[in-house]
Symmetry: C2
Subunit: 498 residues, 2 copies
C-alpha cells in the first residue's frame, strides 16, 4: 500500500492521506471535540441537546448571591413549561427566588444541594417540593456524582473567563470569583456540559476548566452581579464577646499542643473564625511556628498569613474575597482543589489531613451533635457545606458560638436537626465555658491543669436555662420534606415540614 | 428506620451507622481507594498485579538518560523470563541498554515509542525486534492511549516526590525533573498504575500526579541519576555558521510579520534554536512586543524571557534544565501541560495555537519532507517527539540546519525516512540560503523585496552537490522493521532493516 507521500505502508495499517496546513483534517474528518461549540443562547442549547422534562440539571455556587446563571436556566424551564425537573446546584441563595414559582408549579420536583437559604428554603420548608430535598455535604456531592448515584444530564457551568472551546477559569473578567472547585465533578461527569461566560477571550492562561470536557459555550452579557459574588473584605470581629471566644479558642488549641510546626488549619469567613485565626497568628509568631497548609474557602486573612510564611500552602475550593482571587492568580503555592479533593471521603481528601478546624453552629446538643441546617423551629436556613466533612476529617474539631443569642440557648438537649454527628465534634467554646467531648479523654487529660474555664455540656445548658429560662418544647410535624445525607451517602437525619 | 444517632430515616435510604473519629469507616468498610498502596519492591508488585507474559508496560521519559525505573522493570522481566512483553515508553535512551538482551531473547517483542537512541535503536535497526516498532509522536501517543488503540496493562511512573497514597510531583527530591507531562495519559488510562519514587514524603504541595489514579507506590533508593536527568544549563550556540543561521531565521520571522504582539513560539533546547530565541528576543525588545506564550520543553533561556515579560506564559510538557524546574515551582504563569494537551490533535492542543516553531532536521528533501527518525543510512537515531505535531500546528514552521555537515548535504532528493510531511513545513534556513515551500505563496509574496538570500530547495541541493559531490545512491533493504505513525494514527513511512 502506498500513502499520499508515495511511501510504502504495511498492510492492515492506515496510510497517511495528506493534510493541508492550518486545516485540522484528521482520519475522522469530523471530530466532535473540535466542532464549533459556541451557541447563541440558553434557549438554543435547550433545543440542541435537547433539554426535556424530567432531566437533572446542575450548577455550582461560586457566584453565590450574585449568580445569574441558574436563574437564566430557570427562566427557560419556565418558558418551556418543562415538568419534573431535578436540580442539583451545589448551593441555593436568596437570589434564586425565581425557583419558588417553579417548585409550586412542579416544574421542579426534586433538589439536591449542600446549602439552601432564602425564599427557596422557605417554600421547601413549607412542603411545596414534591419529592424529598437531599442536603448533601461539599464532599458528599462529588461522591454522589462520581459514584454514579447522582446522574446529571446537563451541567450549566458559570465560567468568568472562557475561550470558544471552553478552556476557562475564574480569575479574570468582570465576574471573577477565583477557584471553581465545586464545578469540577459536574464538568467531568455530567452527560452534557455547557459553559456560560461573560468574558469570551482568545486565549486563557490558567486553565481550570478544560475544553475537552465541554460540549457547548454560551457568551452572555453578564453571568452575575459582582456585588453578590465576593464579599469585598472579610475582617476579624470586634465584638467583645466573640473576641473572648476567639481568644479562648486559640488558647485551647495551644494548650492541646496543636500550635506546632507543620500544623494545618481550616476556618470559615465569619468574624469569630477570623478572630481565632488572628489570635493563632500571634501565637504562631511568638513560638516561631510555621504551618503546612490552610484549606477550605480562602479569605484575605489567610492569604496574608500565607504570604507572611505562616502557612506554606493554601488549598482553596472557593475564594471568599478579591484578595483571595488575586492570590490564587499570583501565588504559586495557592492551589485550587476540586470539591472531591476537598471532601470526598473516597478521594483521600484534604479534610482528612487537617489538624484543626473551627466551625460554627446554630444549635449543639448534649451529645455534641451540631445543627447548621435548620433553625430551632425547623426552618431550613443553611446546610452542611463542608461542616461535617471537616469535622470528621480534622484531628481537632472546635465549635465556637455564643452560648446565648437573643436570650436563646445555643446548647440544647437535642438539636432540631443533626447536620454533624457529635462523635466527630471535640470541643465547644462559648463565652461562658468550654466543653470537651467526653469521648476525647486524651484532650481532657491534657487540660487537667488548664486555667481555661472547662465545663460540661450539661453545665452550659444549665447556665443558659438559668439565664434565659426553659424553652417551650416544640411540636414536630411528622411530614418529612428532606434528608440530611452524610458524606458517605448514609442518612444523618430527616427534615420536617414546618 | 432509626439510625445510630437515634434519628428517623425514610425507608429505602441507608441509615448513618456511626463513625469513630480518625477511622475512615464508610459505608463500604473496605474501599480500594483508601487501601494501603505501599508495596516493598518492583518484584512484589509483579506478584500482586500480577504481571505476566504478553502484557503491555509503559513508562515516561522525564528522567531521560538518567532513568533507572525502566531498567528496574526490565531486570524483573528478565528474572522471571516473561515473554512477548510489549513496551510503551515515551522515549528510549542509551541508558536503557539492558533492553538489548531482552529483545534478543524475545522477552520483549513489540515497542511503541516516540524517540529511540543508543544501543536499543541499533538492535532494532538490525531487525532483532520480533514485531514492528511503532514510532509515535508526542501528541500521537496520548491519542493512541486515550482512544483505546494502545491499551496499557501496567504503567510504571517515576515520580520524584510522592506521598504514600501516590500524590506526587516532579519538582522536589533528588531526582527532580520538573513537569511530568508525558506521564498523564498513562496515569489516567493504564489498567494499573505504579508510582516509583525515591522521595517519599508526608505531604505533597503541588499535586501533578493525583493519588486517585494510583494503585501502588514503591519507594526505592534511587529512581535516576541526576546527572542524566537535567542537562544543567542550555546555552545559545557560539558557532559562527550556526549563529548566521539563527540570525537569518530571526530576520526571516520578522520580515514575515511574525514579530508581533501576542506572538507564540516554540523551539528546542539545541544551541541553534536558543540562538534563534536570543535573536528574536533582541527584536522583541526593539519593537516593544510582548508574546503570549512559549511552549514545549522549557529551558532557562525561555524562563528568562518569561520573567522579563517577553512571553506572558510558559506551557511546559518537560523541563530541560534545573532553572525550568525552579521556574515551574515558583512562577504562577509557568504551566504544566500533559502530552495530550501539548499535541493530541483530538484535544485542542497547544501546538495548534502556535505561531512559530523552530525545528531541526537530519535530512530534508525537495518536497520539504523532514527526517529526524533515521540517519541517511537508515539507522534509527531519534524520532519525531513533537516534531511533526508542532510542524502541523504552527502557522510558521521553520527548519534550521547547516546545509553541509561532514561534507554531506542535509538536503536530499528524497529523505531516507519521512518523519514530518513536507506539506506542514514552510521554510528551511541554512548558511547558504533560505528555501520557502512553494505551497506557501503568501510567504513568498511577503519576501519578494527581501534582502535575505531566498533560494529554491533545488538550488540548495545543487550547491551542496557542487561542494560535496554526488552521494552514492543507497540500496534499501526491503525488510520493514518499523513504521512512523502520524499524530492521527495514519502511517507516514516505513522503517527498514539495515
Amino acid at each position: 500500500m502506498i500513502n499520499s507521500l508515495n511511501r510504502f505502508v504495511p498492510d492492515s495499517l492506515i496510510p497517511y492521506q495528506g493534510i493541508k496546513k492550518g486545516e485540522r483534517k484528521l482520519i475522522n474528518e469530523v471530530i466532535s471535540k473540535n466542532k464549533e461549540k459556541l451557541v447563541n443562547s440558553i434557549s438554543e442549547v435547550f433545543d440542541i441537546i435537547p433539554i426535556q422534562s424530567g432531566m437533572t440539571i446542575s450548577f455550582h455556587h461560586h457566584l453565590r448571591n450574585g449568580d445569574d446563571v441558574l436563574n437564566m436556566v430557570l427562566a427557560e424551564i419556565k418558558k418551556r413549561d418543562l415538568k419534573n425537573m431535578v436540580l442539583a446546584p451545589s448551593a441555593i441563595f436568596p437570589v434564586h427566588a425565581p425557583m419558588v414559582e417553579l417548585i409550586k408549579n412542579q416544574n421542579i420536583t426534586k433538589i439536591y444541594t449542600n446549602y439552601i437559604n432564602g425564599p427557596v428554603s422557605d417554600i421547601v420548608t413549607q412542603g411545596f417540593l414534591k419529592e424529598l430535598l437531599v442536603m448533601d455535604t461539599h464532599g458528599g456531592r462529588p461522591r454522589a456524582i462520581e459514584s454514579g448515584e447522582l446522574t446529571i444530564d446537563v451541567s450549566f457551568i458559570a465560567v468568568p473567563t472562557s475561550d470558544k472551546d471552553g478552556n476557562g477559569n475564574g480569575i479574570d473578567g468582570l465576574s471573577a470569583c477565583g477557584t471553581l472547585g465545586y464545578a469540577i465533578s459536574d464538568l467531568m461527569y455530567a452527560k452534557k456540559k455547557v459553559v456560560v461566560t461573560d468574558h469570551l477571550v482568545d486565549h486563557v492562561n490558567k486553565i481550570d476548566i478544560e475544553a475537552k470536557y465541554v460540549d457547548f459555550v454560551i457568551s452572555v452579557p453578564r453571568i452575575g452581579d459582582a456585588k453578590g459574588i465576593v464579599s469585598g473584605t472579610t475582617k476579624p470581629t470586634k465584638d467583645p464577646v466573640q473576641l473572648k471566644i476567639a481568644n479562648d479558642t486559640a488558647k485551647l488549641i495551644d494548650e492541646l499542643g496543636f500550635i506546632k510546626e507543620g500544623m494545618s488549619f481550616q476556618t470559615g469567613a465569619g468574624g469569630t473564625s477570623l478572630a481565632v485565626a488572628k489570635a493563632m497568628q500571634t501565637l504562631m509568631i511568638q513560638k516561631n511556628v510555621k504551618g503546612s497548609f490552610a484549606s477550605g474557602g480562602i479569605t484575605d486573612f489567610l492569604v496574608k498569613m500565607h504570604e507572611d510564611g505562616l502557612f506554606e500552602r493554601l488549598y482553596d475550593v472557593q475564594c471568599f474575597d478579591l484578595e483571595a482571587v488575586k492570590s490564587y492568580k499570583n501565588n504559586p503555592n495557592h492551589f485550587s482543589m476540586s470539591a472531591s479533593k476537598y471532601g470526598n471521603p473516597y478521594d483521600q481528601p484534604i479534610v482528612d489531613q487537617l489538624d484543626i478546624v473551627i466551625l460554627g453552629a446554630t444549635e449543639i446538643d448534649l451529645d455534641f451533635n451540631v445543627n447548621v441546617t435548620t433553625d430551632s423551629h425547623g426552618n431550613l436556613i443553611g446546610g452542611s457545606g463542608g461542616h461535617s466533612d471537616t469535622a470528621a476529617g480534622a484531628k481537632l474539631t472546635i465549635i465556637t458560638t455564643n452560648l446565648l443569642k437573643s436570650r436563646t440557648s445555643m446548647v440544647k438537649e437535642k438539636v432540631t436537626t443533626i447536620t454533624t454527628p457529635g462523635e466527630t465534634v471535640d470541643c465547644l467554646v462559648t463565652e461562658r465555658g468550654i466543653a470537651i467531648n467526653p469521648k476525647r479523654t486524651d484532650l481532657i487529660e491534657k487540660l487537667k491543669d488548664s486555667k481555661l474555664n472547662i465545663v460540661t455540656m450539661e453545665e452550659l445548658l444549665h447556665k443558659a436555662k438559668s439565664i434565659a429560662g426553659i424553652p417551650q418544647p416544640k411540636q414536630k410535624s411528622d411530614q418529612i420534606i428532606g434528608v440530611v445525607r452524610y458524606r458517605d451517602g448514609s442518612i444523618i437525619d430527616s427534615i420536617y415540614k414546618v
